[in-house]
């Protein structure tokens, strides 16, 4: 199980930038000042990218910790943490 945890860490690490790429790409594709649809509105995209970027970075850090075997054993008391 610890091997699975470790190598899935790479997946979580790569998922972070993938999410950011998808969001930025979606924004570039859909933002259109002349457009009248909601997805053409740059404000909405800015809000979403601003919110999810730090979370995506958090997912990368989570993946990195997993890859470094930080989650092989979860602490059972504060002294262990």
């Amino acid at each position: 199980m610890n091997t699975i945890k470790k190598y899935l860490g790479i997946v979580w690490f790569l998922l972070g930038p993938a999410v950011i790429y998808l969001l930025v790409n979606g924004a570039i594709t859909h933002i259109d000042p002349a457009g009248k649809k909601d997805i053409n509105n740059p404000v909405i995209w800015i809000i979403i990218i601003t919110i999810f970027t730090p979370i995506a970075i958090g997912l990368m850090i989570f993946g990195w910790y997993a890859f470094k075997n930080e989650y092989d054993h979860l602490p059972e008391s504060s002294n262990e943490a």
Binding site: N41, G58, Y65, A81
Partner: protein, 474 residues
């Protein structure tokens, strides 16, 4: 830890739960009245823009929740749980009451939406500080073998807050016609004004409570944290648990909560065009029947552990959301075997009612379901809320057990409010965006909660353990 008798633990639960319930009520009436508020506070002309503006404010309320978790979590770990969640209660009640007092756009122009935005942000901050305090306060009073059960009472408050919000709005609306309800100083403001009374009662109850025994003990020994934020997030050992809590439990819980309740109600009303009152009655019954399951799953988590109950709730959402929402669509689609008959023409009668019909189209183009179909819809919403009770019932105990006492308020509040506020709170907003991007699939908006819940299920299944930490005194 103190060993409180049964009477005192119930006082603790009551004082905490009533205040938290009122905070949720305050927070939700804004979302419940989004359509009316959009016409009052935003320029007329483009209904979608107005609705989105309101949703953006709604989202803003959720986005600031993590900041509230940091601000008040820090205070709670420094000065204590009791006074911090008293402060959040006052802030929430005051903001809610004042939203009900802001004149409309027609009267004061752009000042109206700006004031509403500011007050909404304050609401979000307050809520960010409330939940962690209440859950911690109850957990630190509860005996180890009943921590899941006792904290599950706090977990009922979010759904009951929604229930009370729906009930009061419905009650007000039933006693006046639409024009009186939607007028600038109309009935839609009453639920906001009522809040000040509810908050007053709750403050009175909470003032009588004592500080958490675990926090008092730490304080008397001089062991409280001097910098909870630094200890929570710059200490690797604790930060990795914050990340695990977020990605392995709370983000999935957040999307399941909002899909089963808010998205469902919005879908029934906006997409299926079900009558305002009937869609709320469906929600009310479903919530009433499902709420006891918070306690059932909280109790069960004390026996078999928290992890798998929460994860199975997520998995059920992943598997059943599309079939359930497909059924809503199919049963309300005109001419798709619903029993609706298009003759005589609507324009002649204003409505069409045929014996045996499952739906009736009213003159305002909303749909009224037959009694049988209403109960079918209620059962489906009930099932989704049971999924909510599975993921949400045990989660307070789970989070409390994950972090040490001296930084517990801060550490558990942040992932909780990112998971619920950002991932969960944005379900309607992102759902609307995805549906707009893929107009051929009316259920496209569900892919967001399904994907997040599936990801969280995988992470939780692999990385969380099912062990109950009996000792939360550390």
């Amino acid at each position: 830890m103190s060993n409180p008798n049964a009477n005192s633990i119930w006082k603790v639960i009551t004082a905490s739960s009533v205040g938290t319930l009122i905070e949720w009520y305050d927070f939700y009436i804004f979302g419940m009245l989004a359509k009316t508020i959009s016409t009052q506070f935003f320029p007329e002309g483009n209904a979608t823009a107005a609705l989105l503006s309101t949703l953006a404010i709604f989202a803003a309320g959720f986005i600031v929740r993590p900041f509230g978790a940091l601000v008040f979590g820090r205070l709670g770990d420094l000065i204590g749980r009791k006074y911090t969640f008293l402060l959040t209660l006052v802030l929430m009640g005051g903001s809610t009451f004042l939203i009900g007092c802001v004149p409309g756009y027609k009267s004061i122009g752009m000042a109206a939406p700006l004031l509403v935005l500011l007050l909404r942000l304050l609401q979000g901050l307050a809520l960010g500080g409330e939940y962690g305090g209440a859950a911690t306060y109850v957990a630190e009073h509860a005996p180890p073998h009943k921590r899941g059960y006792f904290t599950s009472w706090i977990q009922t408050t979010a759904t009951l807050g929604l229930f009370v919000a729906l009930g009061i709005i419905l009650l007000v609306k039933r006693n006046m016609d639409d024009s009186a309800f939607n007028a600038e100083w109309g009935g839609w403001r009453y639920p906001f004004w009522i809040s000040i009374l509810l908050v007053g009662v709750s403050i009175y109850i909470r003032l009588k409570m004592k500080e958490s025994p675990l926090f008092s003990k730490l304080k008397s020994e001089g062991k409280t944290s001097t910098n909870p934020l630094k200890e929570s997030f710059s200490h690797r050992g604790n930060f990795k648990m914050v990340l695990l809590a977020l990605f392995g439990a709370v983000m999935g819980q957040g999307v399941i909560w909002y899909t089963g309740q808010f998205y469902a109600q919005s879908f029934l009303e906006t997409r299926c065009k079900i009558d305002f009152e009937q869609s709320r009655i469906i929600m009310l019954w479903a919530i009433a029947f499902a709420t006891p399951f918070f306690l059932v799953f909280g109790w069960l988590s004390d026996k078999i552990g928290r992890k798998w109950i929460m994860l199975i709730g997520m998995l059920l959402g992943v598997l059943f959301y599309r079939p359930i929402f497909s059924t809503f669509l199919a049963d309300t689609e005109i001419g798709a075997g619903t029993g609706y008959t298009a003759y005589p023409p609507l324009s002649d009668l204003g409505q069409s009612v045929q014996p045996g019909d499952d739906i009736t189209i009213r003159s305002d183009n909303t749909i009224l379901l037959s009694t049988a179909l209403q109960w079918k819809f209620t059962a489906l919403v009930w099932a989704m809320i049971v999924f909510v009770t599975m993921v949400y019932g045990p989660i307070a105990a789970f989070l409390v057990e994950l972090f040490p006492t001296k930084i517990r308020y801060t550490s558990m509040s942040l992932p909780y409010h990112i998971g619920n506020g950002v991932f969960g709170g944005l379900v309607p907003f992102i759902g609307l965006l995805i549906t707009t991007s893929f107009p051929s699939d009316p259920l496209a908006g569900l892919w967001y909660p399904i994907a997040i819940a599936a990801l969280c299920f995988i992470i939780g299944a692999i990385y969380l353990n099912n062990k109950i930490d009996r000792n939360v005194m550390d």
